[in-house]
Amino acid sequence: MKKLLALVIALVVVLSLSVLPAMADGLNVGTYDPASAGEYEMGFGWWGNQVRDEVTKAAADFFTENYPNIKFNLNSQVWNNYWSLMSTYAANNDLPDIMQQDYAFIEQWAQAGDLLDLTPYIESGALDLSKVPQNIIDTGKVGEGIYAVCAGVNAPALLYNKTLTDELGIEVPKNITWDQFAEISRKVFAEKGVGAVYGEGNSENQPTYYARGLGYTAFWGDEGINASVEQMTGYYQRIMDAVAEGWMFDTDKMAGVNLTDLAQSPLVYGTTNDVRTWAAFAFSNQIAAFQTAANADGIELGITNWASDDPVASNYMKPSQFFSITTDTKNPDLAVAFLNYLINDVQANTILRAERGVPANGDVAAAIADEVTKVDATYGLVVDYLAFVAENSSPIFPPLPAYSGQVNADVIQRLTEEAHLLNPTVTAEECAKDLIESTAEIASEY
């Protein structure tokens, strides 16, 4: 009996070792020694999903294994709940030591005084960003300080039903333009009755991409939208034409499908062709989840850029998520050491398996490629696409102004729905005018 037990224990140990990467000489934590911190419970919050929760927990556990004096209070929420909860914690001065951040919101959070300026730690070497490209580091900049470090990189990506386009003998080009996209959509719709949806409709993503194609780096200015009424008319006209031609989903049809739950997205789910789309305006790190859902119907997905008149001007590399240290932390040095571990430690990133996007530290990204491809077959596709985007894109827009969220919710969604009506009651010009005027009004209130 005892022998059996010993055998089982040995087996478990061997198995668990084979799962974990080989132990190097300690963790990459920078210059501070977490062992000297004494007993400490570190708060760590993110928005996520089951996979992200598991890998992040594992990465935290691995840290605790090496530094048993450090325990974690992990807090994972879904996106919507995450922000409302974090703002209430912020009001309570009770934010976790380290929180996941989004490019859109860093500026607001830094200005509210909730995030710690990391510049002194980078300068002292406590936080080593030498392997992270400067333009990626800069995305975490607000004013003169660096308030967030990129957890992974992604880019806007048009994911399409490659099985379908292959069947129709259509080649989906790289750097696809809007006209090419419309042409393919017309053909797919004529032959298969499968349509298209132009993004989720309640964010600035599509109009921004469009405006960048016209030469604006940023969609939002201090007092409103940078593009003119005339230019934005083109954006709404494009939608109205496509709806009139039939291949773009109208408002009612969009309401009939689920555009928020990825597993039920019309790209990968739908009982008949008329509730399906051949392409989805998504982000490169989402392809794994889309592909998983698509497997059920035997669909293989392809990846290219979002359609734009000038794809190189429009496209950009985006930090998919950030990690920030909050001003509520009681031991900033320790939090920085943990952050350094998340960014630079190969073992940590093997455990995290690029779920948050391809690691910004180039050495790490290369070192984990083999391991990650084993669990995620689309990883290679994403890395290739990002390499292409790196050569064919323009610098990303600055972080979004505080008023943009309200414009998305109150204005952009409403106008998207108006423009997508089968029998529109307003003209494209009126939409554009409304957009620019309403935005200016909201911006003036902030």
């Binding site: 409302s84 703002s87 859109a104 309401a255 009939g256 309200q406 409403r414």
Partner: protein, 307 residues
Amino acid sequence: MTASRAKKRSGFSAWIGEESTAGYVFSLPFIIGFLMFMAIPMVLSLYYSFCKYDIQTPPTFIGLQNYIKIFTSDKVFTKALRVTCYYALIGTPLKVIFALMVALILNHESRAVGLYRAVYYLPSIIGGSVAVAILWRRLFESNGTINAIFSNVFPSLSGYNWFSEGPAIWVLIILTVWQFGSSMLIFLSALKQIPRELYEASWVDGANGFQQFANVTIPMLTPTIFFNLVQQTINSFLAFTQCKLITNGQPRNSTLFYTVYQYNKAFPAQGKSQMGYASALAWIMLVIVSVVTMLLFKSRSKWVFDA
């Protein structure tokens, strides 16, 4: 005897034994609870409704501005209010009528009735969960179960889009009607309370089944109908999860519940919280619900039969 005893006691023990003191002692939990968990928060929210408040920075007093904006320029407010009234005024009567019908059918002496009762009540237990949201979309999607059944009868309906602007609200109304269980239970117990003699008496008077129903059952049930109507009307005005999980207000806010609009203002997915504005919305809803409830109570004497 009691009097002499009470006289012997003095001071504290006499005071505590008095009826009015005991009344306060027994009510104390509610008095404390009401102050702590209702009154203080309500006063707070009334104050916030006159402020611009984003939770992260202290509130700034702006007077009636929130209310003025809501009533003069907020089109979404008007829309959400209309949608909510439509949902409440159509959904509630339907739900109560349905609950009553099923209760009448199940008010039957049979072994299987216990099982039936459970089966008809179960949907009300699961409430508004994620599973219901998934399921409801699936039932009503263009090639879902509902269309599959109805297209056999009305071929023109095949592929009908339930989530388009007109019918989408009905998807939510049907969901609330489906969860009629608690009203049904209350009707069932009310039916059991109707004295048998009343039926027997009307039988002697030569009333047939239908006349019995119209002259005995319904009048005797009016207090219960009233109770359910009030409860369910309030619940419909405050419904939240169904809309949030299933349609999220789409398309074009045609299914936007008032509470969801209010929640989105208080806890937006993007951008800053507008807690002051949301508090003003909350207070407006409070007034509306109070007025509707009052009207219902005013109508009570006109149609409710009190034995």
